[in-house]
């Protein structure tokens, strides 16, 4: 199996769906753009590996958080664009609040010790 080509760390376990939902909030994107957007928004701190991205996207399709439609990319190619659904928005809100709760809890522990 090929190793990840970048030294940038992958996103913390289980947060990838949340990140994808977050970058899709501003509009529909194709798979590559999702990976790029996450990479850029994290100031190149996070890299999304395609080996994780596509299975995650499929799982999100199963759950109905996103839908996929064919569109034309900025390079004028036929691409599949992922779009947030209503239940996807709800899921995003839920995951963000859950993450924040967890994050503050972890910070509490770190500060105490």
């Amino acid at each position: 199996m090929p190793m990840p080509n970048t030294s940038a760390p992958v996103s913390p376990a289980g947060t990838l769906p949340m990140l994808i939902l977050r970058v899709l909030q501003s509009g529909e994107l194709h798979g590559y753009a999702i990976a790029q957007r996450i990479h850029l928004l994290s100031s190149e701190a996070l890299a999304v590996e395609e080996g994780l991205l596509y299975p995650t996207l499929q799982k999100m399709l199963v759950k109905g958080w996103v839908t996929a439609n064919w569109g034309i990319s900025e390079t004028n190619r036929k691409v599949r664009l992922y779009r947030l659904t209503t239940s996807g928005r709800k899921q995003l809100a839920a995951e963000v609040s859950e993450y924040e709760r967890l994050d503050s809890a972890i910070r509490e522990i770190l500060r105490a010790s």
């Binding site: 080996g51 499929q58 190619r77 599949r80």
Partner: protein, 837 residues
């Protein structure tokens, strides 16, 4: 639900979506390459993961396994065919039996809301009758709030149409009978409650489709024409449809409104008589009312009826409700028989499956190599297990299909042979289908699980498994053979032994005087005249009277406990010369004087059970005021319970009050057939409005015997098939055991072992299972056949000859199937075998 829907939609569009995903990843790879990143994961693996994400992997695997299974079975066509045959028999027998049960007791009648139709019968802890008095029926009809409708059928002796020689079956029904069943006339109209429910309505008759075709050539102009029924003119108003579904399997050829019964049967007071049980009652539950509520309401009504008419209701009587919307109303005894048949057919399935299990194990030996390779290249134990189960399931499914076809053929033959109602169809319904699916699963578990587990665990304890297989087969076969032997004995018994009375020369003549409003005195006069005229007919050797004639329509029975054993008691009321006419010997004492009171004659077996080792003469019977003295002991004569070995009889002298219900019994010296015209003439001269029913006991008896013969034939056939299966299975197992050890045996012999000793070591492993199987099977048969007693026609269910015969046949066949393949050991060519490697 949304998620399932999305999953299914994905599956439907899987090919397109998969291609799209590939394309999408290709795009991703190209874009990434531009930014100098040439490293993209395994796209094929990613696509597989996507498929997994949608949760359809199991389906893919299943298809894979199925494809593999089909290839495996196709590669060994001989084995597959053999396995299919074995399974088809095992499953087919079960599906046939279930289809029959389904047809009789589960399939709803094709009438509106068949599930709300109930059959209502009088029961008490001591008494049971299928019929009730018409006034009681009216009482329930008027007061029951939980029944939206009630129907009654009054069965009557056959009628004579115009001047026909042959009589035609007939029934009276309440005018709502056809409307409640939603019957549409093939021609004309059915009865209409607003027209036909009055006694003074114009006499109407509805003909069955069959009669209309046979007797009237299907003439549509028949509607509106007047025909004579026992010399009473009646207008034909309609024809029942071809596929008419009637209640309780009642399909007479003539239907008349019950309100007009007094017109057709002159001077009959049946409709007013509170003590004459004459009609069968059916009801339709009000929607939303449970059957329990109806039972409770009827219980209250019965108590009310008892207050008003104490003579019309028994002590502790209640109305028993059973589901009525099926071909047959199932009585508890019938469920017992059904359960027994079920056990027998399941035994056959067990034999087939253990048999197949043996075949599979032999095959497993051959496949060890293949499976070994698959494990070596990375197949997990779970995967192998699943693969083997899929293969078995595939085989079982094919076997079930074949079994279903077999059952279809069997039902088809049965329906054509048995002249069944035309609405019945042979095509399996959802119940039969789900039963077959269940059978498939059960069979797979039985024959496939053990080998699959063995493989998956990779631990092979073949000897034990083989011993269990042999033991089970022998046990199941011995049960089947013993039961078959018992039934064959029963047939023989019926055919070649005396039922206790000489039926060949007997004719019963039932004038049904009670239905013609005869007073007891008038009835006595009629019967006396009839008797004296019959006696003067040449060819009549003896004439007598009996209340419940042999093989009659009505059976009366009491269950009594004697020393903790239930004795079935059949009471009867007879004239003094009854025993002589019937040919029932008097063992002790004397017969009655005419009209003798407080005297009873009991049957031999009753005396034996009630007063073992004592002289029964002079003993007292009964309780309270009505004590009767035993004046005689008659030979056992199961005149109304041919099949029941436990039946005992008690006779009382017929009293004046019984005269209206008495039936004449005539013993002819020559052919009893020739009596019919004479009897008809005599009865016409005595009273032209009375049409006695004349029945030859010989024919009735033959019908009874044919039934048991049929059952015995079927059971023996099935038993023989089962035994054949077992034997083939045992031959296979022994052959396999010998083949497996050929080299070892050859070496032993080469080293000087005696061939007989080698033979015994090979067969040794089978001796115990055979012995255990035989013992277990015999015990099971002895225990289970108790249920069979009522059907054994007087053969003891522990009848030694049957057991010995069954076991002997099995033992011989099993020994042969053990010895023949094992004998190969004796003919081994040592040089070739030892050279081979």
């Amino acid at each position: 639900m949304g998620e399932l829907f999305r999953r299914i939609r994905y599956l439907m569009n899987w090919r397109r979506l998969d291609a799209e995903l590939a394309e999408e990843m290709e795009f991703h790879r190209e874009m990434a390459a531009r930014t100098g990143c040439n490293n993209f994961g395994n796209t094929l693996r990613l696509r597989e993961q996507a498929f997994e994400a949608w949760g359809w992997t199991w389906l893919d695997r299943l298809l894979q396994d199925l494809r593999y299974g089909v290839r495996m079975w196709a590669r060994a066509p001989g084995f597959t065919l053999m396995a299919l045959l074995v399974l088809a028999i095992g499953i087919g027998v079960n599906v046939s039996a279930f289809s029959f049960f389904d047809m009789v007791a589960l399939k709803p009648l094709p009438v509106p809301e068949a599930d709300r139709i109930v059959r209502l019968e009088r029961r008490s802890p001591y008494n049971y009758t299928s019929e009730m008095a018409y006034p009681s029926f009216l009482f329930y009809r008027e007061h029951a709030k939980t029944l939206s409708a009630t129907m009654a059928i009054l069965g009557v002796p056959p009628f004579q149409i115009d001047r026909d020689l042959q009589q035609t079956s007939a029934s009276f029904v309440t005018a709502n009978y056809f409307t409640e069943l939603g019957t549409r006339a093939a021609y004309g109209r059915m009865f209409d409650p607003s027209i036909d429910d009055r006694a003074d309505a114009p006499p109407a008759v509805v003909l069955s489709y069959g009669l209309w075709q046979r007797r009237f050539g299907g003439d549509p102009m028949l509607i509106g024409r007047v025909i004579d029924l026992n010399r009473k003119p009646a207008t034909v108003v309609g024809i029942t449809p071809f596929a008419f579904a009637s209640l309780g399997g009642q399909h007479p050829d003539l239907w008349m409104p019950i309100a007009q019964q007094p017109y057709f049967i002159e001077r009959s007071k049946v409709l007013q008589d509170w003590t004459n049980a004459s009609v069968r009652m059916w009801g339709r539950l009000v929607p939303g009312i449970s059957a329990k509520m109806t039972e409770q309401e009827l219980r209250i009504l019965t108590d009310e009826l008892r207050r008003q008419h104490p003579d019309a209701v028994w002590d502790d009587e209640f109305i028993q409700r059973s589901p009525g919307g099926h071909l047959q109303v199932m009585q508890p005894e019938m469920y017992r028989v059904a359960a027994m048949v079920g056990v027998l057919t399941l035994l056959i399935l067990t034999i087939s499956c253990t048999n197949l299990g043996g075949l599979m194990m032999a095959r497993a030996f051959i496949r060890e190599h293949e499976i070994g390779i698959r494990v070596a290249i990375g197949a997990g134990r779970a995967r192998i297990f699943r693969q083997l189960c899929t293969e078995s399931l595939l085989l079982a499914a094919m076997g079930s299909l074949a079994g279903l076809a077999l059952a279809w053929v069997a039902m088809r033959v049965l329906l054509t042979k048995a002249d069944a109602p035309k609405w019945l169809s042979v095509s399996p319904d959802w119940r039969v289908m789900s039963f077959t699916v269940g059978m498939t699963a059960g069979a797979t578990l039985l024959f496939g699980l053990a080998p699959a587990l063995q493989f998956a665990r990779h631990r092979q304890r073949k000897t034990i498994a083989r011993q269990i297989l042999v033991g089970t087969q022998i046990a199941a076969s011995s049960v089947l053979l013993i039961v078959a032997a018992l039934l064959l004995r029963a047939t023989q018994h019926v055919l070649y032994t005396d039922p206790g009375f000489g039926y060949e020369q007997l004719v019963s003549i039932d004038p049904q005087l009670g239905h013609h409003d005869y007073t007891p005195e008038a009835a006595r006069t009629y019967l006396d005249q009839m008797q004296s005229r019959l006696r003067s007919v040449p060819g009549v050797s003896s004439v007598s009277l009996v209340k419940l004639p042999p093989l009659g329509h009505v059976v009366s029975r009491e269950d009594r406990q004697i020393d903790g054993r239930t004795v079935r008691l059949y009471p009867n009321w007879v004239a003094p010369d009854f025993f002589g006419t019937m040919g029932i010997p008097l063992r002790l004492g004397r017969t009655f004087y005419s009209g003798e009171k407080h005297a009873v004659i009991v049957s031999e077996s009753f005396a034996r059970q009630q007063w073992p080792g004592q002289n029964p003469l002079g003993k007292q019977l009964g309780d309270g005021a009505s004590k009767d003295t035993v004046i005689g002991v008659a030979g056992d004569a199961r005149i109304n319970a041919l099949s029941d070995d436990d039946a005992t009889e008690q006779y009382w002298a017929a009293q004046q009050d019984d005269m209206r219900d008495m039936v004449l019994i005539v013993r002819s010296a020559g052919e009893p057939e020739s009596l019919s015209p004479t009897v008809k003439t005599i009865s016409q001269n005595l009273d032209a409005s009375v049409f006695p029913e004349i029945r030859q006991l010989k024919l009735l008896y033959r019908d009874e015997v044919e039934q048991i013969e049929l059952v015995a034939t079927i059971v023996s056939l099935v038993g023989m098939v089962a035994v054949a299966l077992s034997c083939v299975g045992i031959v296979g197992l022994v052959t396999f055991a010998v083949t497996q050890r050929t080299k070892e045996i050859a070496i032993r012999i080469a080293l000087g072992a005696k061939r007989a000793a080698v033979l015994s070591t090979v067969l040794g492993q089978f001796c115990w299972p055979v012995a255990v199987g035989l013992t277990a099977g015999t015990a099971l048969a002895a225990f289970g056949s108790k249920l069979l007693r009522v059907a054994l026609y007087g053969v003891n269910n522990l009848d030694l000859a049957s057991y010995v015969a069954g076991i002997a046949v099995l033992a011989i066949l099993v020994s042969l199937s053990l010895l023949i393949p094992a004998a190969r050991v004796l003919r081994l060519n040592l040089a070739t075998i030892l050279h081979y490697d």
